[in-house]
């Protein structure tokens, strides 16, 4: 019994040494990156994939040592991910919450209808003392509607430039198939991205490439009956039908086209439809549809990213693969800017990340070098894929 009492101070000493030693362990700081996007609702797959890819990228960085901080120590990337349900109000609320934490940068959102108002609550121009907007750098992986990053100096995007992609695609199609003369559009009219892409991108770029644009049929995201729209397509009898819609209605329209025996010589689809969702819903009817995309597992890096995403139960596609590139770019920016990742340096770290991102002229991408514009947008390399035998296959690489 007496021995036990003698041992107690020794045990206490050992325990206290443990506590004393703890600060040494916590020298390894964590660098927090806050992801957010749609992880519920009908576009849940986008958020699920983005989160998986972000975690996979962070895991790879952490395994190779982490991020080198401004004082020479190493920091581990810590990913969080919040659900904005593809809803503008929830997106703004999520961002405000993220801004109240010690996250140095936010990655998201999924939907353009969230990104547009969300960027609006950021400080418009850096250094404007009269603007009380949030000073939080946001790097967007998915919301693709054109020109959104120019809303704020704190907004950056790594989304493909659809205007360039479709311009290049229609010029290439014209060159490869000179006998095709006309284009007819099908557009999901109530979704910001698909609407913008048809009216401002596909329609104008196909016209610029010399096609006769015969008109367009419109439907809504939740529509279930496409007989009238497909009859309009049939009436127009175009050589090419360009469908600017997301997978659910793309499949509905393609199935209706098959029923009404509407067989254009070529089908062109929306960037977001170059996913497994489309093939899952209507592989047979989608056979041959051509879509420009900024991701396909055609390089060793892209293959590796796709495999890593799969290990985290995600799928690398046009949108989620951008999240991989973003995490890698952020690592480089954080190291070059020497962020400290301390509780009292959050604001300074955010400013450093913003400055670093704004200064970028090029970044490394999974398909090659990505050019950065002064407006915070990306000019990404891309390929044309087509649906073949239930898979997406690369049809042409305009970069070669």
């Amino acid at each position: 019994m007496r021995k036990t009492w003698v041992l107690l101070p020794a045990i206490a000493a050992v325990i206290s040494m443990g506590f004393v030693a703890q600060p040494a362990v916590s020298q390894e700081r964590s660098v927090k990156i806050a992801g957010f996007g749609a992880r519920s609702g009908v576009v849940r797959s986008f958020g699920v994939n983005t989160e998986a890819v972000m975690r996979a990228a962070a895991d790879q960085i952490n395994k190779s040592g982490g991020v080198k901080l401004g004082d020479g120590s190493m920091g581990k990337i810590e990913i969080s991910f919040d659900d904005d349900r593809c809803n503008a109000e929830e997106g703004i609320s999520v961002l405000r919450r993220i801004a109240s934490t010690d996250a140095v940068v936010a990655v998201g959102p999924t939907c353009s209808n969230v990104a547009e108002p969300l960027f609006g609550i950021l400080q418009k121009r850096v250094g404007d003392a009269g603007d009380s907007g949030l000073k939080m750098p946001i790097f967007t992986d998915t919301a693709i509607k054109g020109g959104l990053a120019q809303i704020s100096d704190w907004a950056f995007r790594n989304v493909p430039n659809e205007a360039e992609m479709y311009q290049s695609l229609f010029v290439w199609l014209q060159k490869e198939n000179p006998e095709l003369k006309s284009v007819y559009g099908g557009v999901e009219e109530d979704f910001a991205h698909s609407r913008f892409t048809w009216h401002k991108v596909m329609k104008t770029k196909s016209g610029d490439a010399g096609y006769n644009v015969l008109g367009e049929s419109k439907w809504l995201l939740a529509d279930t009956n496409f007989t009238t729209q497909v009859r309009e397509m049939k009436k127009a009898n175009p050589d090419i039908i360009a469908i600017s819609a997301h997978p659910f209605t793309t499949c509905g329209v393609l199935k209706e086209m098959a029923r009404q025996k509407v067989k254009p010589k070529l089908l062109v689809g929306l960037t977001s439809s170059s996913s497994m969702e489309t093939l899952n819903g209507c592989a047979e009817q989608a056979e041959g549809i051509i879509i420009p995309t900024s991701f396909a597992p055609v390089t060793p890096e892209a293959e590796m990213a796709a495999a890593a995403a799969a290990r985290f139960d995600g799928s690398a596609d046009l949108h989620s693969a951008a999240a991989w590139e973003i995490v890698m770019v952020l690592k480089d920016v954080m190291e070059s800017q020497g962020i400290m990742a301390k509780a009292d340096t959050v604001d300074a770290d955010r400013a450093k990340v913003r400055d670093g991102l704004a200064a970028l002229k090029t970044t490394k991408g999974l398909l090659g070098t990505i050019k950065r514009t002064d407006e915070g947008e990306a000019l990404k390399p891309y390929v044309y894929v087509h649906a073949k035998g239930g898979n997406w296959k690369v049809l042409h690489d305009p970069g070669i």
């Binding site: 849940r44 007989t227 009859r231 659910f248 029923r259 969702e277 819903g281 209507c282």
Partner: protein
């Protein structure tokens, strides 16, 4: 062909397509109206349950790849889900407070919708169809799958009418809906009748969900909200509690919807459908037919 004649064919085509697709609205409307007739309560989870049952039937379809088996499985699964909704949203809730079951069904609607989203990641799932061709008569075409949907819808409605008006069970349902106290005194259990009503309407919703899946070719959580809204519109236009009203209103809403879309485009289509609803609420609040199943 003469342009005017072609235009006329397209107009008729739009109306016919709408009527055929309207069968699914009618089936959903009947479900809403039957529950309202019996319990005087709206079950806003009904559309979600219908699509949920169709999703559940896909699991059976993967085991037994027959569309007919899938449709039957959808009816059975949705009947079971209907009973669960009754237990969760009505059976143990204070029905004297009209908000309690209403909000419970809103919660069930959101819950079922999100369960589907989480189970499928929101991905569209192909749904089997027995027929997938069009039958052409010159420029005029009929979708064989919609004809099938129409036929199944009609059969389901006839079966329902038979059950309601030719069986003891139907007698009990009508008795409880019209005079619950008297029915109870005559030995008809209100709770049992209510539960059976939920199972029957659930099965009907399962058929509707399967038919919607078959006609679209794909199931998606995106279907849940629109069919709920359409079902409610049909119920109001047809007259709360009126089964013939729900049938006529379902077909009419389908036809008007397509007609408005043909003439005014998809962006204005729903505005006109809503306008139709407001017109009915203002000038004929009892709907096309006055309630035939309702409490005195």
């Amino acid at each position: 062909m003469d342009d005017f004649l072609l235009e006329l064919i397209y107009v008729v085509q739009s109306i016919v397509d709408g009527i055929l697709f309207g069968t699914t609205y009618a089936l959903i409307g009947i479900g809403f109206t039957l529950i309202f007739g019996v319990m005087h309560k709206l079950n806003l989870a009904y559309g979600a349950v219908s699509i949920g049952g169709a999703y559940a039937s896909l699991m059976i379809f993967h085991l037994v790849p027959s569309p007919i088996v899938a449709y039957l499985a959808s009816a059975v699964a949705t009947g079971a889900f209907g009973y669960l909704v009754y237990l969760c949203c009505f059976r143990f809730l204070p029905l004297s407070n009209p908000l309690a079951p209403l909000m419970a069904t809103v919660g069930a609607f959101l819950f079922i919708d999100e369960v589907i989203v989480h189970a499928t990641n929101g991905m569209p799932e192909p749904y089997p169809s027995v027929f997938d061709e069009m039958i052409f008569f010159g420029e005029f075409g009929l979708r064989s799958d919609l004809l099938f949907v129409f036929a199944i819808g009609l059969i389901s409605m006839l079966v329902l009418m038979y059950v309601l008006y030719r069986t003891r069970l139907g007698l009990a349902v009508r008795a409880v809906s019209q005079q619950p106290v008297a029915a109870e005194l005559c030995g008809m259990s209100q709770e049992r009748t209510n539960a059976i009503t939920f199972v029957i309407t659930g099965a009907l919703g399962g058929v509707a969900g399967a038919m919607i899946g078959a006609s679209v070719g794909v199931l998606s959580p995106l279907l849940v909200a629109p069919i709920t809204i359409k079902g409610l519109i049909v119920t109001v236009i047809g007259g709360l509690g009126s089964i013939p009203g729900a049938i006529i209103a379902g077909l009419a809403v389908g036809a008007f919807e397509n007609l408005f879309q043909y003439f005014r485009g998809v962006t204005e289509r729903d505005m006109y459908v809503m306008l139709l609803l407001f017109l009915f609420l203002t000038f004929r609040p009892g709907g096309i037919f006055s309630s035939s199943i309702g409490r005195d």
